[in-house]
């Protein structure tokens, strides 16, 4: 609350809260996003292993998401706490997914097929 700069007063006599970014810059950002979209589609045609494709796709998606958050969502110029919220939510999501995936080794490896009759001898119990 104490970290305010000198308020800039607008034409209507009130403080100006906005710091508009140039249109050119915004269009440039869209260009970057479109480029990354074509890149991720292009990469998907090459087989670089099961996890290879997944990681590349996730990496590009994260880059795109960061660009959207930083520039379209103004985090680049915003209070750092808003960025903290975004990062924290992703961190907690990662925590959730990581723990659950870590535990998934124990899950039944053979799914019980819903479209097939259930037969007890079809499945081995783990361990």
């Amino acid at each position: 609350m104490s970290d305010h700069h000198e308020p800039e007063i607008g034409a209507d006599g009130f403080e100006k809260l906005a710091h508009p970014v140039s249109v050119k810059f915004m269009v440039g950002i869209l260009g970057a996003l479109l480029f990354l979209t074509f890149l991720t589609v292009g990469v998907s045609y090459f087989d670089i292993g099961r996890s290879g494709n997944l990681f590349v796709a996730l990496f590009i998606a994260t880059a795109k998401a960061s660009i959207v958050a930083l520039f379209f969502m103004h985090l680049r110029w915003d209070k750092p706490f808003n960025a903290v919220i975004l990062i924290a939510s992703f961190a907690f999501l990662l925590l959730f997914i990581a723990f659950v995936v870590l535990d998934s080794g124990e899950y039944q490896h053979e799914l019980i097929p819903m479209d097939k009759p259930y037969q007890t001898d079809q499945f081995e119990l783990p361990g």
Partner: protein, 569 residues
């Protein structure tokens, strides 16, 4: 929508006989139903929460009565001739309704939404919460969720347990979906309250109210709000998936459709373990206030108590797997979760020791709130320490799904969270209503509740350690004596709560007028009149050290305390 009557009210009234406050600010049903005043919303929440507490408590009494003796006791009465439901089914519905109502409708909204709404902005020195409309909206969401719960009762009840574990919850023929929709809606109510509190604390602190000048209750509420915002959405999606599982068999959680039930438990406990801290953290905040005020002494280790609230909130996200030690979770995960579980005891112990040190050398007055505060420390210690047995992998295998678990979480949920809430209710009752309650009756009620609680639930530790499984309708004769003692204890509690209802109602209609500051506290809510005025503060209050009791003097003429820094206006 918002009555801006500030301009019209002042000039007309000349020396009003009745001082202006939020209760007589405007009249009529709509002035309550459409109010944006956080105090009125808090009061409406309080009425709702206490009604639901009575409802859940009635089901608890039914459960205990059924367990009075082996075999059918009273559940059989509710069996319809020619119906498909047996007495056992009826019992299953009772404990499900008891659990779900108490958790989702009473404890989770109890302290933050009811007491927090009333107290938090005033304590902070703000005029209202950040988003008053959203606040009213979350109250109506709570009502809608409650309606769905009542609906399930009329749609044949639900018997999946409050945890809704798959596969059973996906295939039982009872009214699971309305209950899930109810919890889903309640979740959003809780999220919006949490959002509101975080923004309020960040953006509405008046100049001078720095983070480390905030009363400890606000720290507790802040930590709670963080959990509400980060954990509750996962519950929402879990319930949505479960609804999809039931209706369309999407195959995520139920083995029959190709899914995995352990995955459901991960999803569920990722929310529901942090939810335990949603329940307990604000109660801890209340106790921090009560212990300091009624010992008339600055809290020992203020910063430690404040940080430990945040630490508990964060640790709370890392321990959900300790509910799943026997659910074929992998051994590595069991070890990790067990280890982190023990680390939660560090911030919890920090709080307990700091409360004890706060009382050391203070001028302790055994007021009614203080009795509840002391009970909290005692019961929370038992609840916390028995949690260590359950966090240990080897002993948990023995105790899992026995009455030991039931006793443990009742010590934490009821003995701590609810006792803390009732402590806060008694602490702020004079502020909310402007009336004093009958101290003698209140002490008698407290004695019934405290003794009854221990008789009920300590016995259950013994039951559980001897192997009595939870959620069973029937039991072997060797457990009978314990069950009988436990049931007697529950009746004692019922008597205590009935007395409480009587003297609280009586105080509203004929209680003595409360002074602005009956306890000698120095947090901001005690600097405005009892009950507080509509806008909380006519002029921005002077923010000073809220735990400095040196400037607080007793004034026998008004029967309360006055502050030298903020003299009465």
């Amino acid at each position: 929508m918002n009555p801006p009557e500030t301009g019209t009210a002042a000039p007309v009234a000349e020396a009003p006989a009745v001082p202006h406050h939020y209760l007589n600010h405007s009249k009529g049903f709509l002035s309550w139903a459409l109010t944006l005043d956080h105090k009125r919303i808090g009061i409406m929440y309080l009425i709702g929460v206490l009604s639901c507490f009575a409802l859940g408590g009635m089901f608890a009494l039914l459960l205990r009565t059924e367990l009075w003796a082996p075999g059918d006791t009273i559940a059989g009465i509710f069996v319809k001739k020619g119906g498909t439901k047996t007495a056992q089914d009826i019992y299953n519905m009772w404990f499900t309704v008891h659990g779900a109502v108490m958790v989702f409708l009473v404890i989770i909204p109890g302290v933050p939404a009811a007491l927090g709404n009333f107290v938090l902005p005033i304590m902070l020195g703000a005029k209202d919460v950040a988003f008053p409309r959203l606040n009213l909206g979350s109250f109506y969401l709570w009502c809608l969720g409650a309606i769905f719960f009542i609906l399930t009762l009329f749609m044949g009840g639900v018997d999946a347990g409050w945890t809704f574990y798959t596969p059973y919850s996906a295939i039982t023929s009872t009214a699971v979906i309305p209950a899930l929709v109810g919890v889903f809606i309640l979740g959003f109510s809780s999220i919006f309250t949490g959002m509101n509190f975080i923004v309020t604390i960040h953006k509405l602190r008046p100049p001078g109210m720095t983070w480390f000048r905030m009363p400890l209750f606000l720290w507790g509420s802040y930590a709670t709000a963080v959990i509400q915002v980060l954990a509750t959405p996962v519950l929402a999606i879990t319930l949505l998936l479960l609804i999809m599982e039931r209706t369309l068999h999407v195959g995520i959680f139920t083995p029959e459709y190709g899914g995995d039930p352990v995955l459901f438990q991960h999803f569920f406990w990722f929310y529901s373990h942090p939810a335990v801290y949603i329940m307990i953290l604000p109660a801890m905040g209340i106790v921090s206030e009560i212990i300091s005020v009624h010992s008339h002494k600055r809290p020992f280790g203020y910063q430690f108590i404040a940080y430990s609230s945040v630490a508990i909130a964060i640790f709370g996200f890392l321990v959900w797997g300790h509910h799943m030690f026997t659910s074929t979770q992998s051994p590595a995960m069991n070890a990790i979760f067990s280890a982190i579980t023990f680390s939660v005891s560090i911030p919890s112990a920090i709080k307990v020791f700091n409360w004890l040190a706060t009382m050391w050398g203070g001028s302790i007055r055994l007021t009614v709130p203080m009795l509840y505060g002391l009970s909290f420390i005692f019961l929370f210690s038992i609840g916390g320490l028995t949690g260590l047995y359950l966090g240990t992998l080897s002993t948990d295998v023995h105790f899992h799904d026995t009455y030991f678990v039931v006793a443990h979480f009742h010590y934490v949920m009821m003995g701590s969270a609810l006792i803390g809430m009732f402590g806060g209710l008694h602490h702020w009752w004079p502020k909310m209503t402007g009336r004093l309650y009958n101290g003698k009756l209140a002490r008698i009620a407290w004695a019934f509740v405290f003794v009854g609680f221990n008789v009920t639930f300590f016995t259950q530790f013994l039951l559980g350690s001897q192997g009595m499984p939870r959620r069973y309708y029937d039991y072997l004769p060797r457990y009978e004596i314990y069950h009988k003692i436990s049931t007697i204890g529950s009746y004692m509690m019922a008597v205590g709560f009935a007395i409480m209802g009587v003297y609280l109602l009586q105080s509203i209609f004929g209680g003595k007028k409360a002074p602005a500051n009956p306890w000698g506290a120095n947090t901001l809510e005690w600097h405005c009149t009892s009950p507080p005025p509509h806008d909380n503060f006519k002029t921005p209050p002077a923010i000073e050290d809220c735990y400095d009791y040196s400037g607080i003097d007793y004034d026998p003429a008004i029967g309360g305390y006055t502050s030298r820094a903020n003299p009465p206006k």
